[in-house]
Symmetry: C2
Subunit: 155 residues, 2 copies
């Protein structure tokens, strides 16, 4: 396959939180706001009936050269094997799109307050989806032993 056509995506909103340079430890319990562009309030109608949503965001602070690496040691840990970036959750990937399941705490018009988002302040939001028990919950998924090893940290 040759080089693909470029896709142009206009963000639907933006993340607001205190994470300026890096996502802090314990982000799982920290709140972020998602501010959608004016006019998108109706697209959130009844989203508050979900306890969890999936946020797709663009990790715009990942520099170009960090998107070129094909293999990494997960979390930079040399004791773990070299793994292809697409087989890890590293932000340093060809297209740094974050996908994170977060707890939805509150909705007000075009504003969501969520908990557990690992996005930096001002990250563009590309899409929001409700968490689906049918599609997203895979209880019997098998993961590599290195990922289990990191079980209490982020892969």
């Amino acid at each position: 396959m040759a080089k693909g056509k470029v896709i142009r995506i206009e963000p639907i909103g933006i993340v607001r939180n205190d994470f300026e340079e890096k996502v802090p430890e314990g982000y799982e319990n920290l709140p972020s706001e998602i501010v959608l562009r004016k006019g998108f309030s109706d697209a959130l109608h009844r989203i508050e009936e979900n306890s969890h949503i999936i946020v797709l965001f663009w990790m715009d602070r990942v520099e170009g050269k960090r998107r070129k690496k094909l293999k990494i040691h997960p979390k930079g840990r040399k004791d773990l094997p070299l793994i292809g970036v697409l087989a890890t959750r590293t932000p340093y990937r060809p297209n740094p799109i974050g996908v994170r399941v977060v707890r939805l705490l509150m909705k007000k018009k075009n504003l969501l307050i969520v908990e557990g988002l690992d996005a930096l302040n001002n990250s563009p939001v590309l899409d929001i989806k409700p968490y689906s028990l049918k599609h997203d919950l895979v209880k019997n998924a098998k993961v590599p032993s290195w990922a289990t090893h990191l079980s209490n940290k982020e892969e």
Copy 2:
């Protein structure tokens, strides 16, 4: 928030299957190929240690006017309430990015064979991530009653 800056994303690969106009019933058990661009084979190193991966793809057959609607009846069913598009999994959303957890059947160089992808033939692939038991598995998620109602269909 004003209109956002446009983000330019170059696909990392493409979907190959027999789904030309619509995703067929029973796609959950049908295979698709994902062909990554030459040079990306190393980025898949050891991905085969995962039973499930998350595929992000661009639903390029969704026309512009279908991306403008803010509320829909899920699955076009008038007996279900009007819901904001971002609170459903409809492809008809402002940024039609598909996110699907699929079973990984085989890897060979820059080719993956997966099962359960609801993408049309030739859809551009934006990213691939391993399914994470830590991040993606939310056993206690609460979903709306209309979604439970559709439990054996796609929301």
